[in-house]
Symmetry: D4
Subunit: 219 residues, 8 copies
């Protein structure tokens, strides 16, 4: 696995990351990681690598767009001095274009999204070089769905920024699409954005594979 | 308008009808009609026909399938002796096939749905001949979406039963589709089943048109 | 209709407007418009004009007099940069003269009311020329009732200021009186100030008529 | 004063009597009499007659009509074996005719009201001969107001039944009208039915005068 | 009665005055006067003098000693510009000497109490000359009880300061003692400090007599 | 100490015993003994005799008189098969005579109290011979106080019944009086019935002395 | 994997299984599986086998001993007609011997535990032959700890009953011990019985290995 | 006893001291000392020495390490001007090394612990010379348990600092070990840190013995 023992792994994002995590910092005792993919990450990292003592810190914040995340990056994320940093952002940048089109200032268009992402990566590099960019996800495989198509456009931007900035890329959307071949989206999520526990596992497994997690490790 | 002064109009259904109505009977003081289409119906009937004193009674019950509604029809609906009765049921019959396919006993398949509808109509006729069957609705216009296609299949059964049993038919789905030509489904509903206030208006207007409501009435 | 697509329509007022709207701004997701006439406005504007994407913003504030509204106008209302602005204020200016006469500083007398209204209009004109002044309403048609007579006196001031300042005038009181010819005030409101849902429709329809809303629009 | 030491005085009625009294019996420790006129009665009887130890029992029940009171008379009121019994009922018999005319079974018309009152008195006489009938009250002095006129019609029935059945009569409405000559109804009550503390005093003073309470008693 | 129409009457004190009054100012709508003697005062002043429109303001504050009241006098009491001001303070000055003798800084000894009272009166005179000093009360008539004897010592100081400063004096304790000749203290209060509703009437009547209230006034 | 290892010790009584114990049985995990003297008993028995594993069971019930305790004795107390049983009852038998004299059926007079106690003892003897009767307590040493004198009259009955029925007698009142020589009653209790923690220790120590508890035991 | 598509898998147990699952049946929508190992099982089964639609049902019940489970087996577990049934019981049978030794009827001794297990297995076989017995677990590896030694004694009984009754055996304790070689018990659990999320993963992985779950399955 | 009449005794510590005490200062009325050993101390000091009027002040703060206590010493503890000061700190310094080893900044290592203790003592000496240092406690007697061994290492530091700084030393751990010879740790505490009421007595008795408390004092 890429992550070294006794390191700090911070997961930044929106409500898909947050999912009820402890405020102000999603670490510590009393199940602080919420009920989303960070909880699965923490559960697996600690149970399979009990000798690694990795500090998984959930810093998702419900409702965040890339613009919001950029604004709080210094204060909320980088001040924690992560050794590893994952970023899964963009769902709200897209969603607001569809659920509240009458309030255009609430959403973030592709050009700004790309700029925000680049700024997030470059600022983060001052603290760590271990950065993973994850695609935002829409639990809908049809490309004729307007919001589905739009989310993939943003996922493509994540891919391009990852390559350009030379950071790890995690294609969560394609993992999700693989699952949706077998079951209906309603089996995982009612709003196609916030998944249930199995859906959180799907996202977590995508991230763990990027981290070269060893599922069958003996310890 | 079809509805006569001083009559009782009962609206039966599932959570799309219920929407937080007063228990056990959705009538009376203190805004008892919840926040869905019955609330719009009541608001418009009373404000435009203030001399009619129509008793609008919301008897939606969250989670109901056609099987559940049939089971409680005598006790909950017919015992109220409605002069007019609308029935909008079937969303959960379909939804459970997609969100909890691992629990097949929770959903209702087309054949049983048709039978349940027919029984509902025939039992209701012992109390009133003024019956309106409304299609269940999925706020998704793509026919390639499996659940969307399935919901229309159930809507078609409503149409056929209405014709066969000679009761009024209200095609809510086609009204919804007309709206979705202009805006994204997320603008109205996040889960494509429970609409917001504008969506409740869309359903209500469909029903009011069936009732030959006079929008420009002078009084 | 007067209102153009993609515009912002702010509704200022007191508790008759507020009715439990979302704080600090009555816009966005999750039914933010409370249960009064703004909710009806939003429901009808969006369901009948789904292609217009009008941002209806409820900025009513419970307990406000015209003095309070003037004090928060800049900060709460004009800072939102409305394209259209409706103002329905004055009920508390009058009511406090009758329910707490022992605290005279809580009410606003006619002369000050007129001045407040004029200031509100003139300040608002720096942001938009699309202003609608609505009469405050008392759900009592008897002119021998002291508070009813007083409220009409304030309604007359609204009419005069509208004419003088050349802004749209919405005579809600006369619409209300038309309804009260057919039903008792207790059918709509217990305190003759806060109406139930049908009463909210009456106010909303008065405002929509002023806006030349097309009830039978095909889209 | 009419009431003898160490006796039990039960006050029956609707929400105007109830006003948050302790359930199931409005007697005992911890201020059990609610915030209406029974609380004033209890406060004055005990402070001015501290040597009388009168057990004041509030048995008002919110929402009751004369029909409801008759139904629970045996179980709730007479089973307590009152030495004195006051009855103030009828406001809801009237109110429901005006606030929910669409549900006629919720109100009580004059003929039934008279019969209910007579039955209440005759049943009560099997337990005590000390019965006081109080008029229901509407805090509106205009006789051109339909509900005001209707309430006085019911008050007249109370007067007639009292005379016919030879029990004490307490004309609360005329006491209220005397106060309304000096101040607006909104100073006492927003809905013209439920008074504030001063209004509770007005009702209590009317009842105490009927009981020949000695305000200036030395003890 | 001493109090003139349209005047403001502020009642300062501790928890015996406060009794759950509205914060920050005990005036206005929605029964703001708590459940102690100010509520009785307000009820009687308004019901018997409905044409006087006296603004009764409860400014009691639970736990206050004379030291605390002096500290907040300017900010909380005098800033309200009372036309009439009653002060009932001292119960906590005494009580803390008996219930928490291990924390001597929480109580106020006689000499400081006298000084505090004098300062309160003199400061208040800059705003109004209509001041009533009321004795603090202990619902225990035995003089062999140490706290009872101590409270009377403080009551004597109130009497002396009233005479010296030429303000009205209200001897609540002697009124209380008159009642305790007829009934046990537990009938009125469990802790001998906070009375129930009848006890609140006893205090209120003492104050109303000082104000030359006319119980039998015709209006 | 009298109590043997591995035995069950049930404490019956009223609110002085109850003090918020776990329902329906005051034993087990999670500090089930409330905040009164049973909690002190349990704390000391287990900390000083950690090898005895005595099951202390608090079966006090707030508001109980001896009549109430007798009524629930079989069902609540004896069904637990206590090895040791203490009974501290009577405070409410007396108190109700003073705080609600207007409801005489709520209190228990001396003759009935004696009979209730005898019945309680004799019924209990069918289950255990280890019975301790404790005096009810009033935290007031003056015998000129009517309720204080009355409570001692009941304490004397406890003493007589204990002697007559040959069960252990615990004179809590004299222990309390010894403390009140040194400090004011308000230091321990505001209502002279429910003591604070130190007062709970005073009662507990009286009971432990009766049980020949060894404070300085070495283990 | 042993489990077939479209089957029902019921997990019976105590609070380690329950962990806040939905009542009365831990299945369905809205994350019904609590926060313990059933949640991990459900997350992994559905995310890795999305085409299997296995109905995972959490029927743990906090506080249960083997005696309690046996008592409710028919009604709560077998009535659900499981295709697969896992049983993890015994922690409370042991714990009560150590935390409440003064209440011996609350715990279950080894001989009864064995009998209860055998009865549970044999009754279950009438419904399914796919039964997995899991050892109860104490998160303490020292055998000199009395409760740790006792829990292993019960684990050995589970092993023996599994062999004798020819059902699957899952040795959770040895999996736990493997983890405790690497980290302190406090890292996983404060009371050594209820693990946090990583500890829930450890239990789940033990069970999944028994079920021959394929971690690297491609779908 | 060492403590003199009318003095103030402040108990500083972590959650073992805090146990729900009143904020911001654990003194005064309404049982302010929480449910831990300070409550026992207060109960015994006041019941056995009712003439001493000692002000017991609980200033424990949940979660505190010695580092946290040092940081708030001036503001929270010394500002109260204690006559006697006990300090029981260190449990969290140790615990965090075992329950959240992945967050090393949350724990305090032995060298810093010693320095913190010395600073706490020396700063406190500027206010009082009556200082008692108490060992932190782990309710586990096995020395092979890593956290148990570590806690004793910290206890040894307390002993050394006490001797070096010439303040009173209270060896709570050895008192605890004496109890654990007779009963299992689960009988007193589930997490081996927070004891139940009997465990609170064990700690309190250790402290009272250090203070030369006279259990059999006559007063």
């Amino acid at each position: 696995m890429i992550i070294l023992p006794h390191s700090k792994f911070v997961l930044a994002g929106d409500s898909v990351t947050d999912m009820g995590r402890t405020q102000p910092i999603g670490q510590g005792l009393f199940n602080p990681h919420g009920t989303g993919y960070p909880n699965v990450i923490q559960g697996l990292l600690t149970s399979v690598y009990p000798d690694f003592f990795i500090n998984v810190v959930n810093m998702g914040y419900s409702g965040n767009t890339s613009r919001d995340l950029l604004n709080r990056l210094e204060r909320d994320i980088l001040s924690l001095k992560p050794d590893y940093l994952s970023v899964m952002i963009g769902a709200n940048d897209v969603w607001r274009q569809f659920d509240t089109p009458q309030i255009p200032e609430n959403s973030v268009l592709p050009e700004e999204y790309r700029e925000n992402l680049i700024k997030i990566v470059r600022l983060s590099k001052t603290v760590t070089s271990n950065i993973i960019l994850m695609t935002p996800v829409y639990w809908e495989s049809s490309l004729t769905d307007a919001m589905s198509a739009r989310m993939r456009e943003y996922g493509q931007i994540v891919r391009e920024v990852s390559a350009q900035e030379k950071v790890l890329f995690c294609d969560v959307q394609s993992r999700v699409d693989r699952v949706l071949k077998h079951c209906n989206a309603n089996y995982i999520t009612w709003d196609r954005v916030h998944p249930n526990i199995p859906g959180a596992n799907v996202i977590a497994h995508a991230l763990l594979d990027t981290l070269e997690f060893d599922w069958k490790r003996e310890c």
